[in-house]
Every structure is written in C-alpha cells, then in structure tokens.
C-alpha cells in the first residue's frame, strides 16, 4: 500500500539547534531524514513508522569533512560521493572510499550518507566494517550536549544502536594512524552496484620482522551486527604467514561468525566465503611484504 503524503509532516528548519529542539520535544515522534535512500523506500512501501520527519540534508555543519593533525572528522550527512572524492579520505582510509564506491549506484551515492548508513544499522551495510577496523568514533549530539561513542560499542544488536531518541549523529572521527597498513576491501554480491552484499570484508594488516604485528578484520553480513573478528586477530598476532597458518585461520573465522540463511545467500556459503576473504587478505599481506 503506497503512503499518502498528506499523512506526513516534513519540516525543514535548516538549523541544527532547531532540529535538536524538535527531537527533544517529542523524542520518539520525529525522524531525521538526510538523503532518503533508506527512509524513502520504507515510506513508499507504507512501512515508515513515523509520521513526523525533520530534514537534515540542508544542515551545513553535517556536510563537512575536516582534517585535523590526528583525526579526520566526517559530518554525518556527508555522501558516499563526498567520501570517494575527498583526497585525504581516499589516501588514508581506502577501505572507506572503496566501500563508498560500491554502495548503491552513482545516484544513490550522491544522496546516501555515512551517518545514515550507521543509523540504519544494517548488518549488511558496506561502510561499517571499515569503521570498525579504523577505530572510528561517533559524536552524538542532543540538547543535553555531546557525547562520543566508540563505533565498536555503537551497534548493540540487530538494528539496535546506542543512539537515544533525542540524539542525532553529528560526525564520525577516524584516527589518522593507519596509513602504513596494507588494506584489503572486498564485496561479494550478485553485482557491485545496487546489490546488497552476501559478505563484505574490511581488513588492515602490518608486518614487522617477517611476522604479523597487527591484523584488523571486520566482516559484514555474517552476524546480527557488523562484526570485528577479535579472536582471529589475536590468533594472527606474531605469526608468520605460511601454509600451516591458513587452515587454523579458516577454522577461527568460521567459529567467530554467526551467518544465517536469507534471500541473498546461505549460512554455509557465507562461512566459506568469509574464510576465503580473510585468507585472500593474508596472501595479499604476504605479497605486499615481499614487495616492500
């Protein structure tokens, strides 16, 4: 059943403080809308739970990317196009730029936002594994003030987040300390554009004295939330990348993930692919090391 626009309010104050006051006045009533690539789909299908929406697409401070000596701060309403087109983001955070490049198609990248991807909290979201391995931090803002939450603590369960009803995601900060890492991003899906991932990987690694000094692995679509593979990472630390390691890594990945069967894939396929992607990353890490 198509939604009737007459049943909805959409206000457009164009001012962050006014938006926050609205959210505070009736916290569960108002839903912020930026590029609409998720919410307008729900709306058209008659599945949008709220009747009151507030436009945040035209709030300038949510659209900035600021570069500081230690961090890059990305406004929550920055689009995938803005992320892909930003030199520092592309150079220092290639996993995020790659994820942005295969989210939707060009039209959706022009409207879809990083903050929206976080708030929508899909376990299949392409950009979220990158935020996990880069130790991203989100700033949440409300009339009560600001608070910063490590992104790893933000997603608490399937489509559940730490965001309070009166809060808005203001920005996402990425620490600038991963440029020396080898990075590997992969999406496995029916096609890159316009298809939701069956499995996606964001991985970072660095080798010292012939052994893995640090490996950071995160997968999408293999658990109720985007998943960091802490146990597998620990099992890799200090190890040389050699054939005997590969078998144990496969087992570790399959132990750590919790994939399901759904319309896009099966749990069994996802487990096999997840392990393959991590092995592919280790092979790349070994090769880059040889070349260096």
């Amino acid at each position: 059943m198509r939604a009737d626009p007459a049943e909805f309010r959409l206000v457009s104050p164009g001012d962050l403080q006014v938006v926050l006051s609205l959210l505070a006045s009736e916290p569960t009533e108002w839903l912020p809308i930026a590029g609409g690539t998720d919410l307008m789909v729900l709306y058209s299908a008659g599945k949008l739970p709220n009747r009151k929406l507030v436009n945040i697409w035209n709030i300038p401070e949510l659209r900035q990317i600021e570069v500081f000596p230690d961090t890059i701060r990305i406004g929550a309403a920055c689009t995938y196009t803005a992320l892909r087109g930003h030199d520092d983001v592309s150079r220092e955070f290639p996993l995020l730029a790659a994820a942005a490049s295969w989210t939707g198609g060009i039209a959706n990248q022009n409207r879809g936002t990083l903050g929206g991807n976080i708030a929508n909290a899909s376990p299949a979201a392409d950009s979220l594994p990158a935020l996990l391995v880069y130790d991203a931090e989100v700033t949440l803002i409300s009339v009560r003030g600001n608070r910063r939450v490590a992104y790893r603590d933000f997603h608490q369960g399937y489509k559940q987040t730490a965001l309070a009803a009166d809060e808005l995601i203001r920005d996402i900060s990425l620490p600038r300390r991963f440029s020396g890492y080898v990075s590997h991003a992969r999406k496995v899906g029916a096609r890159n554009a316009q298809a939701i991932s069956k499995v996606c990987l964001a991985a970072l690694g660095i080798i010292a004295n012939g052994a893995i000094r640090d490996a950071r692995l995160a997968l999408g679509s293999v658990a109720p939330i985007p998943l960091r593979l802490h146990e597998t990472e620990r099992s890799l630390a200090g190890k040389k990348i050699e054939p005997s390691l590969i078998g144990t890594v496969r087992q570790s990945v399959e132990r750590e993930i919790r994939p399901i069967d759904d319309i896009r894939s099966t749990a069994r396929y996802r487990a096999a692919v997840a392990a393959n992607l991590v092995v592919e990353f280790l092979e790349k890490l070994a090769t880059e090391r040889t070349r260096a």
């Binding site: 049943e7 909805f8 299908a45 009747r51 035209n58 060009i106 039209a107």
Partner: protein, 165 residues
C-alpha cells in the same frame, strides 16, 4: 527555509526546472518524481521500481544525478532540476541521441531517459571515459531489453564524437 506545515498541509515550493522558474503547491513528503510527472506534466521521467534500484526516474538535482523517487520534494526547494525534457537544450544531447539510435541503445524506452541523464552526468565529469567508467556510471540504471552492451557502446561513441569536436 520552509515553515512548519501541519499534517495535511501543502506548502509552496519554488525551484528551477529545465531552466524555468516553477512554483508548485505540494505536500513536503511528495516524491519529486510525482511532482514532476503530475504537477508539471513532465512525463519523460519514468517510474520503474520506485525504490531507488533501477534508475528510471533519474534527474539532475543541482547537477547531481539522483533517483527522483527517493527525493521528498521539499528537499528540492530552491534547486535547479534537469529532466530528460530539458536535455534537448544541452550540447551533449545530439551526439548521445544519435549514438543511442546508431548503436541500438534504446528498445522499449522506459530506461532511456535515466540512461541519458546518467550518461550526461558521467560525461560532464569524465569526458573521455574508459569502458569501466561507463559501466560504473550507468550501474545504477537497469535495462531489461538491450543487454547493456549497445548502451555502453552508444555512450563511448558519443564521448568520442564530443571530444573530437
């Protein structure tokens, strides 16, 4: 920018469509697609899936390719919109139109307005696209007739002809 309308209240929206200043009275959550087709009678913008997956309803909003089915009209306030009807005024249109005809890039025609707008958006940013650029630039636009190859060839041909000029 816009007063707070209550439920059921339409608001006046001013924007530029194909170079002309236009004024419509619409509910703020109305889809830009519906306002273009129903209020402004610009039927060249097609509805395919209605959920941002197919690109049939592509228009340029302040120069950015967007799916007009996913834009609440109030977000287009003050914007400049180009639909397929406005393309005839663009220099790129003649070579694109000719190339689509010569290469067989159009069959049933439902995807064509979106394909043309996606191609224009690509060629304005990347006048000499590699095949991979063309595939990526049109990846959000689905076609159920041609099998795509003819469309990719048409865009490549139009680009070559434009660059030669």
């Amino acid at each position: 920018m816009n007063p707070s309308p209550g439920t059921g209240t339409k608001c006046q929206i001013l924007f530029t469509v194909n170079g002309e200043a236009r004024k419509v009275l619409a509910h703020p959550m109305e889809r830009l697609l519906d306002v273009l087709r129903n209020d402004l009678a610009l039927k060249g913008t097609k509805e395919g899936c209605g959920e941002g997956e197919c690109g049939s309803c592509s228009v340029l909003l302040d120069g950015m390719l967007v799916n007009s089915c996913l834009v609440p009209v109030v977000q287009a306030t003050g914007a400049s919109i180009v639909t397929i009807e406005g393309m005839s005024a663009q220099a790129l249109m003649i070579p694109l139109q000719e190339a689509f005809l010569e290469c067989g890039g159009t069959q049933c025609g439902i995807c064509t307005p979106g394909m043309i707008l996606a191609a224009v958006h690509l060629l304005e940013k990347t006048p000499e696209p590699a095949p991979a650029d063309i595939r990526e630039g049109l990846a959000g636009n689905l076609c159920r007739c041609t099998g795509y190859q003819q469309i990719f060839e048409a865009v490549a041909m139009a680009a070559r002809r434009m660059v030669r000029k």
